[in-house]
Amino acid sequence: MEIVIQAEHLRKTYRSVVAVEDVTLSIRQGEVFGIVGPNGAGKTTTVECMMGLRQPDGGTVRVLGLDPLQQGMELRRRIGVQLQQAALPDRLKVWEALDLYASFYDQPADWSVLLEEWGLADKRNASFASLSGGQRQRLFIALSLINNPELVFLDELTTGLDPQARRATWDHIRAIRKRGTTVVLVTHFMDEAEQLCDRVAIIDRGRIIALDTPRALIHETHPESRVRFTLQNGFDPRLLEQVEGVNRVIRDGDEVTVYGNGPLMARIAVILAEHHIAAPDLRSEQPTLEDVFLTLTGRHIR
């Protein structure tokens, strides 16, 4: 299994603030690797060190075997980048942007195909300033792929997109991955990380606090499942504490949450039925990476 990015004890400080501290990770060829965490955690700084846009204060990083600072030009020929807080000249047209960036590479993709693929064909002659947030994101993604890169960095890809556009973007990332491209996905959306990533590194306050597949992380921190429903008809939820597998029952007003192991939902449904309680909103909630973050840090990700 080829390692495409190797970071060891990466450290970056801005004046007195430590943005990134002792970050060590290996990213494998072909995987979608998530770097997740709240805003300000140090995700973008870490990735900028990998791209050669920032000089680390400590540690080393090698991307595709290259030093991002010393061999920056060579590296940038082989990677694709979609950055936060990036822009194009206001009056530049969409096709002109693609054409311009294509000229930086020896063997660029056909940008008219990229226009089509990313739904920008009818915006071909639109100026950058006139594009909506979603259209700009798509243009930046198209730009990140213009050189058919082996490795793509995507930083907060779906911020500002409506739910439909987010889902469509996720499909596109799956398509990119299918072509064998390694993807480094920086996001604060845990659902996105769960959906798309083979492995994730959770970063909080500059440090990696967890690194594994989403499933393993969830399993390690949350062996419990969770069942919820709205209380009705004077049913005493404490009765549920006796059910096999239940660890605890929390009541918040009319909302009941039951934590436990095993086939929780089925067992609770049986008890409710026995007491002639209809709970139409009885639902099982799988723990998510957000729950993992909460467990590890005691804080919500937002």
């Binding site: 940038r76 990036a86 206001d90 009056r91 000229s103 930086f104």
Partner: protein, 245 residues
């Protein structure tokens, strides 16, 4: 090389799409020419050593074009690119900073030459302006002046925090320089004190340098030195403090 050509071509298109920059470089000098030309004409005048008002003002208008591009359009658009994140995106691509800046310099150079060409052509046909005695000298002086103003302008943009402050400072510096330098009233007819003050302004030296070369008086050493110094200092400063974001 291909990237530089493509980038220059794109920057050229963008320049022409920006009405303000294109206006002040290409149209405004013509307006000044016709306004002052129609008021003062171009008859030989003993105050100005036998030259007409337009003869004397044309080098000043050329200085204005140089100042507009070097001190305002150039630095402001670079600062805007920096503030918006355009430079940041370029940095992530395999394009060298020299290409990014170089393309801008090429276009400013071409646009300035175009502005000067339009101005001189109009002045010639409308007011029979005297053509330069030493065209190559004028061209060389022009290049030095433009280069030094661009270097100073880029240093300014590098030193100031935002595009907005760059615009404010550049404007505050430029307009006094412009009118004290001879683009309104020719220097020859200014009161002594004002003329003395104007000698401290770089744009005045552009006027002096180009005028002297235009009318066959050769290179004015003080003016050339001032501009060369500005070029060197501007380059050193820019190289040291320029930020990409």
């Amino acid at each position: 090389m291909r990237a530089l050509l493509k980038m220059s071509w794109v920057e050229g298109k963008l320049f022409l799409r920006e009405p303000v920059g294109a206006f002040f470089t290409l149209v405004f000098p013509l307006m000044l020419l016709f306004v002052f030309g129609s008021v003062f004409g171009n008859d030989p005048n003993e105050f100005m050593g036998g030259l007409g008002s337009v003869d004397v003002s044309t080098p000043a208008y050329i200085g204005m074009i140089i100042g507009t591009v070097g001190l305002m359009s150039g630095p402001i658009s670079l600062a805007v690119y920096r503030d918006q994140g355009v430079l940041r995106r370029f940095r992530a691509a395999p394009v060298s900073p020299a290409v990014v800046i170089g393309a801008q310099v090429i276009i400013y150079f071409l646009m300035t030459v175009l502005g000067v060409a339009l101005l001189v052509t109009a002045a010639y046909f409308a007011y029979d302006v005297r053509l330069p005695e030493d065209p190559l000298g004028v061209a060389a002086g022009f290049c030095l002046a433009l280069a030094s103003f661009l270097a100073a302008g880029f240093a300014l943009a590098s030193a100031l925090p935002t595009a907005r402050t760059t615009q404010i400072v550049a404007t505050a510096v430029f307009y006094p320089m412009l009118f004290l330098g001879g683009a309104g009233v020719p220097r020859q007819v200014m009161p002594e004190t004002i003329r003395r003050i104007s000698e401290f302004l770089p744009l005045t030296h552009v006027n002096i340098l180009i005028s002297d070369l235009w009318f066959g008086k050769g290179w004015q050493p003080v003016s050339a030195a001032v501009l060369a110094g500005m070029l060197v200092v501007g380059l050193i400063l820019s190289a040291r403090i320029f930020r990409w974001e």
